[in-house]
Symmetry: C2
């Protein structure tokens, strides 16, 4: 019952797009927007119709100064009607902070391969699933309305082991749901996937999750990001992540590009007949904040250069 | 009989990729490579396994100096074994020059909409089809081995009329084949298409053309280029165009980006299970020529930044 209420943040029968630029997009950058500029970014995207955001990560400010202002962002998000705010929580301390704050969703990370899990997260996959269970327990006790999201990193290819068996990913997704996750994400963390792999894994996730939504998180490291998103949409993915201007590199692949370009993703959705509720030219214009605040970062994406077709209906 | 011989340049049962950078990629640039650099580009792509090229356009050198060295490129192409060389021919004078040279294919352009045809090509669609017929006649008389390619511009959206009726495009494609074209191309000249439109038109072309191959020419103006290519591959397209580093703007859309990035397209094909015979890292390295020779042009594409996945099988 409370679970159904929580998942109403991801309504059935329509596509939801999540802006992860404020979190994944800022994870390994050299510079980042000021708090005021981040709030401007958030506020303008909300005005453009975006409702789902990852705001940052509860991490030690000394090592991750780009997320030091997360509490200010959470406050700003709380003032914007209908905004669904997620934060990354990689350990119990972060979960404590998250559940004490007025956020809507915590994101836990589980790695698809044991090798990557041990090397990068320094935790076995079983221990990561146990942390998802702990998050659900803490949530039940401290903040029953908050949604627990389990994101499976390297779900479509691993920087250590290479190809990843989709049945392993589905097994892990099921374990996360059994542990109390409300929603599971599959992430192509290092951008290894092609459309065929995305289609196959989304078919499996659709079978596994039934009416429960799942998230597809793609990186455009090798030019296949938007094609992979199209495959995801064609194969039942109800929720997709992206970052404005494709912000975000990958800590496991130096020089690699980041998330799927959010404005190009929104345009793709509309062009494929999936209404997003997003004013895409207004969204693209928000890149100006990044250009000013992060002048050393390359801004990716095509839609912002050309705009949507001027003389035809292109919206769903 | 001779038609079957000509079409052996596009073998059935496998995907053929055409490098159009030397033609479409240089159509509206401010600077272009020296003749020696163009020949280097051609030679290195041939060494990397690319066999199909558009080399340039027979146009007045005074107005299109970037194509003034086309005869030298045709000579260089003739020295590379198995290379299939196409040239753009927009009028009878160009066709005369083409059929007198040792090329393998002439490309005629027909516009999908009467409005664009009159405004841009200054010729009705019927007159353009008549020119295709004339090309086939001249070919029969002067150079029977040369293939006549009819490219339908604005086939997936028009800069003047907006949306384009696919049945109109198919009617025009049939008229071109009836006029003697060996192969027809459908071009998303201004990058209006999404994957759905590409899929639908490719289905129609597959029905119309049967065993005769057809060409899909996409522009990545709004970020959908590679997704559209994936849709084309999924819906029977046997031949796709691209340009190294996504070179080429669009004369009808200032600031728009160019052709689908050739190296990203080749990677997509392999990742989707379609063998290309192309050494993709070697292909990507050829971008260095463009960086040196055309320093004012933006080079697009993701594969060249990251390379293919290092630790897994990704080739078809």
């Amino acid at each position: 019952m409370s679970r159904i209420n929580r998942l109403s943040a991801y309504p059935a029968g329509r596509i939801t797009l999540r802006e992860v630029g404020l979190r994944d997009g800022l994870q390994i950058v050299r510079s980042w927007p000021s708090t005021a500029a981040k709030i401007d970014w958030l506020t303008r995207e909300h005005a453009a119709g975006v409702r789902h955001f990852e705001l940052g990560s509860f991490l030690p400010a000394a090592r991750f100064p780009q997320f030091a202002d997360l509490p200010a962002l959470i406050d700003a998000a709380g003032a914007l009607p209908g905004l669904h705010a997620a934060v990354l929580t990689l350990n119990e301390r972060a979960m404590d902070a998250a559940f004490a704050s007025p956020i809507s969703e915590v994101v836990c990370v589980v790695s698809a391969t044991e090798e990557h899990s041990l090397a990068n997260i320094r935790r076995s996959r079983a221990d990561s699933v146990a942390l998802v269970r702990r998050a659900a327990q803490m949530r039940d006790a401290q903040a029953p309305d908050v949604l627990v999201n389990a994101g499976i990193a390297m779900a479509l290819g691993c920087s250590i082991t290479g190809a990843v068996d989709p049945s392993e990913v589905l097994r892990l997704a099921e374990a996360c749901l059994d542990a109390g996750a409300d929603i599971v994400g599959i992430a192509d963390t290092v951008g290894y996937a092609g459309p065929r792999e995305v289609a196959m894994l989304c078919d499996g996730m659709t079978r596994l999750c039934g009416d429960t939504p799942f998230i597809v998180h793609l990186h455009d490291t090798r030019g296949t990001g938007i094609a992979n998103a199209a495959a995801a949409l064609d194969h039942g993915a109800p929720v997709l992540d992206g970052a404005l201007a494709g912000l975000g590199g990958c800590p496991f692949a130096p020089g690699a590009t980041g998330n799927v370009v959010f404005e190009d993703l929104a345009y793709l959705c509309e062009r494929m007949g999936f209404a997003t509720g997003i004013d895409i030219p207004a969204l693209a214009a928000i890149r100006g904040i990044l250009a000013t605040e992060m002048p050393d970062e390359t801004l990716f994406g095509a839609l912002a250069r050309s705009g949507p077709p001027a003389n035809m209906a292109w919206r769903a």
